[in-house]
């Protein structure tokens, strides 16, 4: 299991990196943390002709905040997110999800940008970004554009990025007052890809009515999806145990399109979806009650 040969570039600046990606087009792969790409290369499933290693582009590694947003450079490592106080304060859902992302020795290398651009439907962060309504800055030699998470994930490992484009920055709106977050997933073993997972971000109004109920789902379709039924049924209401259960069950019927694999049938995944959506919502709303 040794990778095929490739040409290797390790630029120091974003401009250099974008030039290289432009020059090599489809032949080039950006190397972020490499925790998915290099195993695929070792299996020789991936045989890119050119690797553009982003690990020396320091400008892509940053965590910053202003009053309304949290800004994350694409090469920020999972480990940094996990330990960052800014992340914990501004986007507690990210912190809640981090322990579920593989293992420490993977998180020390893996990056948020790599995970999002890879768009694995079983990954935690894409679903979290949907729940948080994050937006992504894509740069290329000809400029940059901002794409909301909801328009970024197009299918299995497929995103709105064009060849030559690079995900450079992630913007997450700061958590609202009276908001709560909860993450849960079912996996065969600790650290494995989830059989199903749910990331909830909820906001209540001063009147105790739910204003926002966004649940991002993973491993339940060919891409991360939002539980639209949950929002439709709960927003504007005072959620009860009953209504949460109904919303979760409804969402598990219409919002997802799970596939079967050797670990879980589509039927079983649907069951897990109903349970997990319910559990994260219960936890989130419960913590609001206690707050």
């Amino acid at each position: 299991m040794k990778p095929a040969p490739f040409a290797y570039h390790a630029p120091f600046s974003l401009d250099e990196a974008l030039d290289l990606l432009h020059e090599h087009g489809y032949d080039a792969k950006a190397l972020a943390g490499g925790q998915s790409l290099i195993p695929a290369m070792n299996f020789r499933l991936a045989t890119p002709a050119v690797l553009v290693d982003l690990n020396r582009v320091d400008s892509l590694r940053s965590v910053s905040r202003d009053t309304t947003t949290l800004q994350l450079g694409a090469m920020t490592r999972h480990r940094t997110l996990e330990q960052s106080q800014d992340v914990a304060q501004m986007a507690p859902l990210v912190s809640a999800a981090m322990p579920f992302v593989a293992h420490e020795a993977i998180r020390t290398r893996g990056t948020i940008g790599g995970s999002l651009a890879h768009a694995d439907p079983a990954a935690e962060l894409p679903a979290v970004m949907l729940a948080l309504d994050a937006s992504f800055t894509l740069a290329s030699r000809s400029g940059s554009r901002v794409v909301p998470a909801s328009a970024f994930f197009l299918g299995l490992f497929t995103t709105a990025m064009e060849p030559g484009e690079l995900l450079v920055n992630i913007t997450i709106p700061a958590r609202a007052d009276r908001s709560a977050a909860a993450f849960d997933e079912v996996s065969r073993r600790h650290g494995d890809f989830a059989l199903a997972g749910a990331a909830a971000y909820v906001v209540n109004g001063a009147d105790g009515k739910c204003e926002v109920a966004r649940v991002g789902l993973l491993s339940l379709a060919d891409r991360p999806v939002l539980a639209a039924e949950v929002a439709r049924l709960l927003e504007g209401t005072r959620p009860s145990k009953e209504s949460i259960r109904e919303a979760a069950e409804a969402s598990a019927q219409v919002d997802i399109d799970p596939t079967s694999d050797i670990h879980a049938s589509s039927r079983y995944r649907r069951q897990l979806a109903a349970v997990l959506i319910r559990r994260v919502l219960e936890r989130a709303f419960l913590s609001l009650e206690h707050a």
């Binding site: 065969r188 073993r189 600790h190 494995d192 059989l195 039927r267 069951q271």
Partner: protein, 781 residues
């Protein structure tokens, strides 16, 4: 043995640890020889196909490639591997030996079967060149499912045979049909056990080096059987046994498949090294390991148990299919283990057991930790559980009623074991073991609390199962014990170590006999230059058989020491004592000689060695038990099942076991913990999933799930010691025990937790997906 042991039965830490903890221990893949070449194999992508052509020209032309060989290039060397274990002399046994070639010719019979070998300056280039080899395969319908394999008109793995039956064996005891007529209850079910991988963390590796000047071949090999490899390779290559040295240095876990001998790679690499006159290394990668290393566990049972209404077993009938894979070089060891282990610790007078071994287009099957024993335990323990339910008898109570009493040993079952000896239990005392396990898990209390927990929505269940395990079989092992002039005691034996602690347990046995510190006994093992008689590490036999040989050799050296000291000190032997690496005169400890002094005096530079004596303080001894010893035990588990997600949380795991005299309880516990973890893997996680084309769908550690530290609970152990009368120290094996009853224990506990009479677990492994389906079906009624 003296009643008070100093080193035996002590929790001694290991002699081998320092090297392993600092990265200095040498494993095969660590071997680097100047000018060494690297090998990679071209393997079949199809489970069953005719080989149309193999074109190696482009691969040969690649820069850095030294040679490429396919079957046609091997000439006369292309002969089948030997049959390692001929079937035991059971009446009317049918057995067809079909063994593999070094490289496939005409036909491939499993995904991963090697077709060609590429030799290059680096493994990277060798893997590049593997992709240059053009292989044209014409796919045939594959044989995957065991029952379909035996249907009329099924495609045949070996076309010269009439069917895919590799063997048929019938063993009976008493008269089951007659017993059945007397029964108040017959429980009958179909049981499945699926394939798993041994999954040692170290993959296999071989380095072969031909020394042209000395005409000597050295093979470093991750084998559990270095001596038979040496003998077999010498014969095959036309060399003297003394011209071949096989070294199995530190081996990173065996678990069975590294006892399989003459793997295709093992046959080819040395041949290539001689031909090229350069050292060649091949290290199996993890993906290859899922095809190229042998596997185990696929069986389908149709079984029934006949009982009285009091729950006494009248008899058992079990007919089963055993998946032997594409070839059967290891004979019938596994299914005979299944057949024999099914009887368990119970008094079963009537038994009708028959099996068919089935060729399939899947990798070769040879023993993996447990080696078929878990299947027998699963079938009999499940049948007992189902019977208990039907009869309204408590699960523990039905077991109590059927255990063999302590007065029943030795107990001859009247059928044949895998070692070609009758199945005789040497010793045992089963009831106290069961009662202790029941007490430790708090069985009665848990039963009482279950209803309350259920009312709180908690599904907690408990399982208690028994097993016996045939261990420590022959034919023999040997050991040489030498006191060096430095006073260091050297022990050489043929059984290699894969982590069991041979450097320590053999040292303990010898230290006990010679009165030296354990750290002062240096064990050399796994190198045919050091010791060249023996078979290998398998069937939980290392400690019992090689340990007994060490004991015998040490006793002989002890005799030599006392004799020489007696002469030198002019004190009768019975007036001497061995203590702290010294011989002392009883009553006047200041008078004495160190072992170092004695070793020097035993090998003088002048003078004469008297007739009838030998120089040095050294002895070689062999030990060959007539038959194996029988270990036993009880596992008790407590689980909680989340009925919504079907996920199982293992709350507690209790093991009470009896492996005879323990050399080192610390190491015994380690063996049990590892075995239980393997058993947890088998019960819940580990399944090699083949599709209907014989393609393995989880050939990586991403999808083949080994249990991790969060999947294995703390394991509570207790020991019972019923010494074996079959060897001088009273040893029984323990290496495999932990994984044998776990599937049965969990099946019982999960069923108990769900508590729906329609919910039955009849197969292993039980993934959450399977449990979800079973729960859904049971709810529907």
């Amino acid at each position: 043995m003296p009643a008070e042991h100093r080193y035996l039965s002590a929790r001694v830490t290991r002699n081998e640890d320092a090297r392993l903890l600092t990265g200095r221990a040498r494993f095969v893949d660590d071997v680097q020889v100047p000018g060494m070449l690297h090998a990679a194999f071209v393997r079949s992508d199809y489970a069953h196909a005719r080989i149309v052509s193999i074109d190696t020209s482009a691969a040969r032309a690649r820069a850095g490639v030294v040679a490429v060989y396919a079957a046609a290039d091997l000439g006369e060397y292309l002969t089948p591997a030997p049959l390692l274990v001929p079937p035991p002399p059971i009446p009317d046994v049918v057995f067809h030996a079909r063994t593999h070639l070094p490289l496939a010719r005409d036909k491939v019979r499993y995904v991963g079967e090697p077709l060609a070998i590429v030799i290059a300056e680096s493994r990277y280039i060798a893997e590049d060149a593997v992709r240059d080899v053009l292989v044209d395969l014409d796919p045939l319908d594959p044989v995957v499912d065991l029952e379909a394999a035996m249907a009329d008109g099924a495609p045949r793995v070996h076309e010269d045979l009439e069917s895919n039956a590799a063997a048929k064996v019938v063993q009976t005891k008493g008269n089951y049909e007659a017993a059945r007529q007397q029964a108040d209850l017959i429980v009958r079910r179909r049981f499945l056990y699926d394939r798993g991988a041994s999954a040692a963390i170290e993959n296999r590796a071989i380095v072969a080096q031909w020394d042209t000047g000395a005409e000597e071949l050295t093979i470093w090999d991750t084998t559990q059987a270095p001596i038979p490899i040496r003998n077999g390779m010498a014969a095959r290559l036309g060399l003297l046994e003394s011209q071949v040295r096989v070294v199995a240095p530190f081996v990173g876990g065996g678990f069975g498949p590294k006892i399989m001998m003459f793997y295709p790679e093992e046959l080819v690499i040395p041949w290539v090294a001689i031909r090229l006159g350069r050292a060649v290394k091949w290290t199996e990668d993890r993906r290859e390991n899922f095809y190229a290393t042998t596997q185990e566990r696929g069986q389908v049972h149709e079984a029934e148990m006949a009982l009285t209404r009091e729950g006494r077993i009248l008899g058992v009938r079990d007919h089963f299919l055993f998946d032997t894979g594409a070839y059967d070089p290891y004979g019938l060891t596994i299914p005979i283990n299944t057949q024999c282990t099914l009887l368990g610790p119970y008094d079963i007078a009537n038994y009708d057991s028959r099996f068919t071994a089935v060729f399939t287009n899947k990798p070769i099957v040879t023993p993996v930790r447990g080696a078929g024993r878990q299947h027998g335990v699963f079938v009999s323990e499940r049948l007992l559980d189902l019977a208990a339910k039907e009869l309204g008898i408590d699960r523990v109570e039905i077991r109590r009623r059927n255990l063999l009493g302590p007065d029943r040993f030795p107990h001859n079952h009247g059928i044949m074991f895998q070692d070609s000896a009758p199945l005789v239990y040497d010793s045992g005392n089963y009831l106290p073991t069961l009662e202790r396990a029941v007490e430790m898990i708090g069985y009665e209390q848990l039963r009482g609390e279950q209803a309350r927990m259920r009312a709180e929505g908690r599904h907690v269940g408990v399982g208690v199962v028994c097993y016996v395990e045939g261990t420590g079989i022959g034919p023999y092992e040997g050991a040489r014990v030498t006191v060096e002039p430095s006073g260091v005691v050297r022990v050489a034996t043929g059984v290699g170590t894969q982590g069991q602690g041979h450097y320590t347990v053999f040292a303990q046995i010898v230290a006990e006999v010679l009165g030296v510190d354990v750290t002062n006994v240096k064990v050399v093992t796994g190198d045919t230059r050091e010791f060249q008689w023996g078979t290998g590490t398998f069937a939980s036999r290392g400690a019992a058989v090689a340990g007994s040989a060490c004991h015998a050799a040490a006793l002989s050296v002890r005799g030599k020491i006392l004799k020489l000291a007696s002469q030198l000190l002019s004190v009768p032997e019975d007036g001497l004592e061995l203590k702290d690496a010294r011989v002392e005169v009883n009553g006047s400890p200041e008078r004495g000689l160190t072992l170092a002094e004695l070793a020097g005096r035993a090998n003088p530079l002048r003078g004469a060695v008297r007739p009838g004596s030998e120089p040095g303080l050294e002895s070689t001894a062999y030990f060959g038990p007539d038959r194996g010893s029988t270990a036993s035990g009880v596992h008790a588990v407590m689980v909680e099942v989340d009925p919504e997600t079907a996920m199982v949380d293992i709350k507690r795991y209790v093991v009470v076991h009896d492996c005879g005299t323990m050399i080192n309880p610390l190491l015994v516990e380690g063996q049990i913990h590892g075995g239980v973890a393997h058993g947890i893997g088998n019960a819940f996680y580990e399944q090699l999933v083949y599709d209907d084309q014989g393609q393995l769908l989880n050939a990586s550690l991403m999808d083949y799930l080994l249990p991790t530290a969060t999947d294995v609970p703390p394991i509570e152990t207790d020991h019972r010691e019923t010494p074996s009368p079959f060897n001088p120290v009273g040893l029984k094996g323990v290496g495999e025990a932990g994984c044998i009853p776990s599937g049965a224990a969990f099946a019982q506990a999960v069923e108990d937790a769900i508590g729906n009479p329609a919910f039955e677990i009849l197969q292993i492994p039980m993934s959450p997906d399977l449990l979800f389906d079973l729960m859904t079906e049971a709810r529907r009624g």
